[in-house]
Subunit: 381 residues, 2 copies
């Protein structure tokens, strides 16, 4: 049986094959017309380019040697962009896909790539609303995702405040361990099949933490409501200019026109796609603050201790990247509540300090103290 | 003097150099938070990938041999995406840029690319709101543009109706001629310097026809107002179900709640980026109609007759591509008015017919009659 290649069916042929992956009626014009964000919400846009051999590697058809099947490459590309939306506190509206393909790519490879993307996207009812296909000497996938957020609820890297707790929404190092297992079949032979699969899945099918955003929204609404009620009672005794309790930053506070959507709980953050260390340092740099991390509180996959030394495990957690968790800085009480709700893997790992140094310390003596910087993380070029 | 390369300054270094090209406060997070479309308008999204050696060719620094300077490559990439928005009847809100770059690209090449992009974008107050940079064996530029349009005003490929006039908003074949002049320095020696420059500019600095959309909006508003007034007078004599004059398609017509934004004038269309023939055939196919084009009415740059035979000139106009004009199908009266307003280069070139054949005919006998199909236009793979 001969494999059907892209050059056999051409651009129009491929477009027809990919149409079923997009909502009916949207594709087939120069652009897609879609509903705008809900009233009062801003548009959030993020874009990512993934290149064959750099971000994924393929052998056109999923031979067991390759670390990324087309389905996985598609899933990861979609997940990386949805994670960026989650990192902004936004919920997704749709994505566009710009594909650069060589002529000798099997049509089935492209279809399987789209299957992986839609498997990830369907979890969040996020449609592929458009795209472009072009010929190139190297395969790459450029995705632009767009979502919506109330402008005051956007999570930014700036805004981490001295005293804030630093939360991770899950374990780190799992994706890097999974990659190692894929690259070295002899590695980790004493892991149980479930442990093995769990680490590999962390690498191949990372989950964007949009669930955290939904949780946070409920929690923030409730917290703000409590504060608003308290402020309403107190407002007869104070000038509204003085109503600035520690955890709250009302925007043009007017008790008569209070809308949860116009209030914010100060949360800074980003995702840990480029590594946990990178995320912490980027947030601190953008916010003009320092941090003290307790390295013993960084949550690792349990099985990691069966694989590598504690130092190696911590190194993967800090610099491995692609765990796609969120790193959030918020007031203590809210942080503890969030961690309790998220359950296993989530943790308060440290606090924001004055100054600009990011210290990694361990009072138990398992790990050596170190000063984190941007240089050790993954850098293109 | 040694040329500063990308690998010398790294990813963070390049990001700092490119920051001045983006609005302050927007870049530096996982995503950009921007205002949504204006009330009542939908979001329009379009994406395009341009690959070095396919869509442009560079020699890292604008040596006279190359056909595309980095500024031109940037301009064309931005223009192609803005043209897609124009083709949808939309006005632009912003773009994102996903750059794949090799490590040996000079930093100045990237800066000049951004200069070209912003030169084009600034004409329409369109910001670059985000992007991604990654390493790749081949340079490519993936742009996603987003804009806004009243949903009933969106121009689609579907909706061309039998009897509609087919309008081109400008000349065709100029971009292809300009490319030929760049590739063959000995070609077209008897052109005046101005003619030469004009054709080359058509290739290097094409203009997205967003001006046509602005014109069309004014014209449509005025036409609809006239019709609405007429309908108001007549409405006492008719059931509202019968109010379907030929040129108007009121949507849930209610004289008491008439809003120009909820009415539409039936306009189908797309841009001619893949060639005039491709645009006409695509519109006819999507609308389930045929067309008869008078090949003698297709407007060509005057200087083309000094360059090549009439047959070659027509071939370039039909299949050369990248003229970035709009091809619009609309009622006769509105078409004539639009052409008069657009002036030189714009023309009614034919009409929509029943059936599904697209005939190119010429009563003057200059050109042979031919049946157009999708096969001759540019196809990737």
């Amino acid at each position: 049986m001969t494999l059907e290649l892209l050059k056999d069916i051409g651009e129009q042929g491929l477009l027809e094959r990919l149409q079923p992956f997009c909502p009916p009626g949207i594709v087939g014009d120069d652009g897609a017309v879609i509903p705008p964000p809900e009233s009062g919400q801003s548009l959030v846009i993020t874009t990512d380019v993934l290149v064959n051999g750099v971000h994924f590697s393929d052998r056109y058809g999923g031979v067991s040697q390759c670390t990324t099947s087309p389905e996985d490459a598609g899933w990861r590309a979609a997940a990386a962009n949805l994670s960026d939306l989650a990192a902004m506190g936004a919920s997704p509206l749709g994505i566009t896909v710009g594909l650069s393909l060589t002529g000798d790519v099997p049509v089935s490879w492209v279809e399987r790539l789209y299957q992986g993307m839609t498997q990830c996207l369907n979890q969040y009812n996020t449609p592929i609303v458009g795209g472009d296909i072009c010929r190139s000497p190297v395969i790459s996938i450029a995705i632009t995702a767009f979502g919506q957020v109330y402008p005051h609820r956007a999570i930014r890297r700036t805004g981490a405040k001295v005293g804030h707790a630093i939360v991770v929404t899950g374990v780190h190092g799992a994706s890097r361990a999974g990659l190692e297992l894929l690259l070295k079949p002899d590695f980790g032979k004493h892991l149980s099949p479930e442990q093995r699969l769990s680490l590999i899945k962390a690498h191949q099918r990372p989950q964007p933490r949009l669930d955290v955003i939904a949780l946070l929204e409920l929690q923030v609404n409730r917290l703000l409501e409590l504060q608003v009620n308290k402020l309403k009672v107190e407002s007869s005794n104070f000038q509204s200019d003085n109503l600035q309790p520690d955890n709250l930053q009302p925007d043009n506070f007017q008790p008569s026109t209070l809308q949860p959507s116009t209030l914010q709980l100060s949360i800074a953050g980003m995702d840990s796609s480029d590594g946990l260390a990178d995320a912490i340092v980027q947030i601190c740099r953008a916010s003009g603050v320092g941090a003290e991390i307790d390295s013993n509180r960084i949550t690792l996959p349990q099985s990691l201790s069966k694989l590598v030394s504690p130092e190696q495990a911590l190194d993967w957690a800090l610099y491995g990247g692609e765990d796609f968790e969120l790193v959030l800085c918020l007031p203590n009480e809210a942080a503890e509540e969030l961690v309790a709700k998220l359950g296993e893997g989530a943790a308060v790992i440290g606090k924001i300090t004055s100054g600009n140094q990011v210290w990694l310390k361990d009072k138990t003596g398992t790990y050596a103290d170190q000063l984190l910087s941007l240089n050790k993380g993954f850098q293109h070029f």
